[in-house]
Symmetry: C2
Subunit: 408 residues, 2 copies
């Protein structure tokens, strides 16, 4: 189940980046489960990772490789992604396994092993099947091509029901730059300064520090504003590559803004696609909190609502149970919140004000507002001018089924 | 569904306190849904309430009545509890409704209206059916008797599947004191300095400030250590009454400790009964976090695990998915947590250490440990000597069913 129709993915090629996929048979024979990204020689790369203290081995190895290449002024040349196994909770042998597959890819392609970043997603706590991955690497390499985005979007999925991609074109320094990205993720989704897995690339030339800034601000407004179940993953990672193949890059503030805006749009489209495909999701819910005294309190209220099991089950039932929404706002830890100043809308329908049901509210209007697949809850705190938005799903029988059955 | 067998409730009478019940037909004709507690003339009373900013009308009125009686040095003489309607999110008319039913009970019994404390539980956002309650008050009063605890425990339930009560006897100043209590609650359970509804009484003489201290420390170790769905209610309240009917009270430190210990035991038994009867619960889970640098970080880790939808669905599936447990610990916000120092046991089975599976762990042992209805997860943080325990449930299909259907 997923919210909204499945549309064919059109992901434009990004000059300077090739993608290859292969079947390593990690979890199931024959399924494509391995992706190699090949980056142009002079690319720059920005990355963010999970802040879960229980970070997976590939996260630790990728961070180490980024430090090494920064010190030696080398570029990252390959990303190696497997699905079916997260290589998390695997201790020192897990680190060695991640290092080994990087080294093998480096030898096959003639680069240094720290020019490869590893990414894994799937079951936590099982040993990475290194030999299977090594055996499949030549296939992945031989299939490298400019138009591999769609296949790669399929190959990185786990419990996702559909691939996720986005593309934008933007004018930079008089040239037309392409920005494309793919992402995966459907559960264990409450990113924190990073997210599930997402790979975004553009063909502009962008200096590394500027690229990192563009990525971080884009992630803050997109991947870091979604929650499916409040559980932050051990393997989250987002990468933004600038291949430089266009031969031009942003030099004016206007160019930078254009590029950053387009990257944010790609990230937001991908982040929302993850929510639409959330485990068991039957609704795509925008929780918008306005009139806050600070962004932080808007986010506290928005997450309290978005992660409340009682709100989420009411959304699943298309029940305009506004009391549960206000009760979640009430326990969000906002200092001296006066509930009499809080106003709630379901879609365009004014439901509650002054701490009680709005006088003209009618249950049928609430039902009509909460029944569609895509709905917006707007909560005005009546305390200031700040606002923040979070995207989430409902909580359904299928979420329980998927997560009670995932390992069995 | 509920965890463990239903045992007949034996709740001893507390001299100086009588209980009456009646059917007001608030939600369903014929069901007992109204309880009156009558307290001895010279009783003392301690109370704690929800800290949800969206507090219900009866909470606001009860607090106001406590202030008034404190200033006028009068005792609270009656508690008036209804189920089926929470009188929350009802604004100024809700306050007036709560005041009106207090005033009516006060007139019928010859006390001042602020000597009555109102408590409501049930659906949020619907008007309290005042006339129905007023019509049933005479029945409740005429049924007042010493042995009404069991009937009252039934009459305060909402989605609970069974009544909850506990009794202790304790020696105080050479006399045998009785402590009895009842509680309700099965969903919207994450108490915060208060809880769902619980009423505890003893027949000792205890000065009010001391009584409040005994209640607060008992609640901190019992009701404030349980979570079913992380949602703090709008109507939570706990009351501890000392009727004084025994004619003696604690005067030595030893007496105070004995009494406080017995009150804590009653509160803990009631709190655990609430968890066992948690909405859709198939498991009673003790999450024990040890070796923390502070109590706060132990609680952060314990609640992150206890409220993780992924951990809870794995518990429902009897899946020893230790990776999800460590991932929850990893995102609990503990500063500079070294996951390599964390150790995890399911029951007595050592599962993970040094950030990875323990070498001698076998899946079958994990399965055996996680299959029983009552299980303990022990997490050692390896950072200090503090420890904290939280009790919770799994997350099942029935939780979704109950909460998606509750209002319809």
């Amino acid at each position: 189940m997923a919210v909204g129709e499945t549309v064919p993915l059109g992901i434009d090629a990004v000059p300077g980046l090739r993608l290859g996929v292969a079947s390593a048979g990690i979890k199931r024979e024959g399924r494509k489960d391995l992706v190699v990204f090949e980056l142009a020689e002079n690319n720059t790369l920005a990355a963010v990772f999970t802040r879960n203290a229980f970070a997976a081995a590939p996260v630790l190895v990728a961070k180490e490789h980024l430090r090494t290449t920064e010190n030696s002024r080398q570029a990252i040349r390959y990303l190696l992604v497997n699905t079916g196994n997260a290589n998390a909770g695997t201790g020192a042998p897990g680190i060695a396994a991640a290092e080994k597959i990087c080294r093998c890819l480096a030898e096959l392609t003639g680069v240094s092993n720290h020019q490869v970043l590893p990414y894994s997603t799937g079951v936590i706590g099982e040993s990475l099947p290194v030999e299977k991955i090594l055996a499949a690497l030549p296939d992945a390499i031989s299939s490298l091509n400019d138009n591999g985005w769609r296949d790669a979007a399929e190959a990185i999925l786990t419990t996702d029901t559909r691939p996720k991609g986005a593309t934008r074109k933007v004018e930079v320094a008089g040239s037309r730059i392409t920005i494309s990205g793919i992402a995966k993720g459907a559960g264990m989704i409450r990113p924190d300064m990073a997210t599930m897995l997402a790979y975004i690339a553009c063909d502009a030339c962008v200096e590394e520090k500027a690229l990192q800034g563009i990525l971080e601000s884009a992630v803050a407004e997109s991947f870091n504003r979604i929650t499916i179940d409040g559980d932050t993953s051990t393997n989250d990672g987002v990468v933004l590559v600038a291949t430089g193949a266009a031969g031009v890059g942003p030099s004016t503030a206007h160019d930078f803004d254009n590029l950053a805006q387009a990257v944010t749009e790609v990230c937001t489209e991908l982040a929302q696609a993850i929510v639409r495909d959330g485990e068991g999701a039957t609704k795509f819910v925008t929780v918008r909190v306005v009139e806050g005294a600070s962004d932080d309190e808007c986010l506290s209220a928005a997450y309290a609502v978005a992660e409340s099991p009682l709100v989420k089950t009411a959304l699943f039932a298309s029940d305009p149970n506004w009391g549960r929404i206000l009760a979640a706002v009430g326990r969000a830890g906002i200092p001296e919140l006066d509930i009499a100043g809080v106003t709630l809308w379901l879609g365009d329908v004014l439901v509650a004000e002054n701490g009680a049901l709005a006088p003209h509210y009618r249950e049928q209007a609430g039902l009509d507002a909460i029944t569609p697949e895509e709905i917006t809850l707007t909560i005005a705190l009546g305390r200031g001018d700040c606002e923040q938005t979070v995207w989430t799903t409902d909580l359904s029988h299928d979420y329980i089924r998927i997560n009670a059955e995932y390992r069995t």
